[in-house]
């Protein structure tokens, strides 16, 4: 068994929480610059320029890109030959978040659903565990903002809907969201699985860097087709009209029940903040 100490895990989560929020990922930044070349609207161009400038200020001043520094989500793939020492793993994740959000002056954005009382330390966090072969622990850590998350949707479609129906639902979801999720957005799509699995697929689809091809050539075509339709809507940067409504559509798909066609659409704003941590 390979041992991994909770101390190391806490430190890495803490550092990542701060870095994610201060430094816009390079793939997102270069995608925004490409968008600037393709945007026809003057207002749209001005907005993209502001976002690029914002990323520079955030990195330089060590101040968050967005004031919504997010709800922490960790998707953990735990090797079967890993042994965690020094405490329990979930508590280590939460301690890392607690320390990172405090030291980085990040916003605590977690509250009671009804009283709206803030929990004060950005916990609890959302954790999904999976067991895999091997002796590594791999974490996908995302800081998710509420504005775009609120516009995400899940549909249990009839199988007869097919690809045409799926495509229509994705475009309709983006249209209804309009300016609310801070376009230009990145659209994570999960097709198949089950009710909850489709949502997890959609989230995982967002963990692919912008500008990289889907390894499944069937999905590459589908992604291109939906993105083209989305960018015909005219919503544009911040919904003020323009060509670039979404930067990319990323799809993950798996088999599903013979009666179902689950579809989850995870709308991610331009401030896409996630990282892969491997121990």
């Amino acid at each position: 068994m390979r041992q991994i100490s909770t101390r190391t895990i806490i430190d890495r989560i803490k550092d990542s929480a701060m870095r994610l929020n201060f430094e816009l990922k390079e793939d997102v930044l270069s995608s925004l610059k490409d968008a600037l070349d393709n945007e026809e609207s003057q207002v749209g161009k001005e907005i993209l320029n502001q976002l690029i400038e914002n990323a520079g200020i955030a990195r330089h001043d060590m101040i968050p890109i967005c004031q919504d520094t997010g709800l922490a989500i960790i998707i953990a793939e735990m090797g079967q030959e890993v042994c965690i020492v020094g405490g329990d793993l979930r508590s280590a994740f939460e301690e890392g978040i607690r320390q990172g959000y405090k030291e980085g002056y990040l916003r605590n954005s977690v509250c009671h659903p009804f009283t709206r009382e803030n929990t004060g330390d950005n916990t609890p966090i959302i954790v999904h565990f999976d067991m895999v072969p091997g002796d590594r622990l791999k974490l996908w850590f995302a800081a998710k903002g509420g504005g775009s998350e609120n516009m995400s949707r899940l549909f249990m479609l009839p199988p007869s809907a097919g690809w045409v129906g799926v495509k229509e639902k994705i475009v309709q979801t983006v249209e209804e969201a309009g300016p609310n999720p801070c376009p230009p957005t990145i659209i994570g799509v999960g097709i198949g699985g089950s009710f909850e699995q489709s949502a997890l697929l959609a989230q995982k689809a967002l963990f692919r860097p912008l500008g990289t091809l889907n390894p499944d050539s069937e999905l590459v075509k589908m992604e291109d087709e939906v993105l083209e339709e989305i960018n015909k809507t005219g919503i544009g940067p911040q919904g003020l009209g323009g060509r670039i409504t979404s930067l990319a559509v990323h799809i993950l798909m798996m088999p599903c029940h013979i009666s179902s066609l689950p579809l989850a659409i995870d709308i991610q704003c331009h401030a896409s903040r996630y990282t892969e941590i491997i121990f």
Partner: protein, 185 residues
Amino acid sequence: MDKVYHLEAPLSIEDIECLKIGDMVDVSGYIYTARDAAHQRFLKLIKEGKELPIPIEGQIIYYVGPTPAPPGKVIGAAGATTSYRMDPYSPALLEMGLKGMIGKGRRSNEVKEAMVKYKAIYMASVGGAAALMSRSIKEASVVAYEEMGPEAVMKLKVEKMPAIVVNDIFGNDLYNEGKKKYRIN
């Protein structure tokens, strides 16, 4: 870009009656922050006939829950939050003379009608450009509901905070017009 209109908050009707959707503005002066939770409390006070913790007449409310101020800074990141969550509460504040709202995203028909009726505007600032926005904020102090953390109500002194007029006093909506202009088929 086209002409930029300078607004000095608090506002008068004369300041905003010349503004139309798509106009770029920069806001200076004193404005107040409030999100959903604060609005909910304001409405409760109004219903009970009690005084609000901030003045409303002529004021601008900025929908923001900033990050905490790091040492040596006035405020942390401070970009706009999505405005529709304030829709159930805004008409009552507009009736009391609120003249401007800054946020991002669409407003309800009720809010848009109230903006025409009571003559007020809604402006959008770029959502997610929170580090950039914080540079326009020169002073910040909590004036109510400190226990709500990031949702506390703050008074901000701002200098040339950039925004764009989305709903004017004539009932126009830039989100509809902008989309129509660039829609294909």
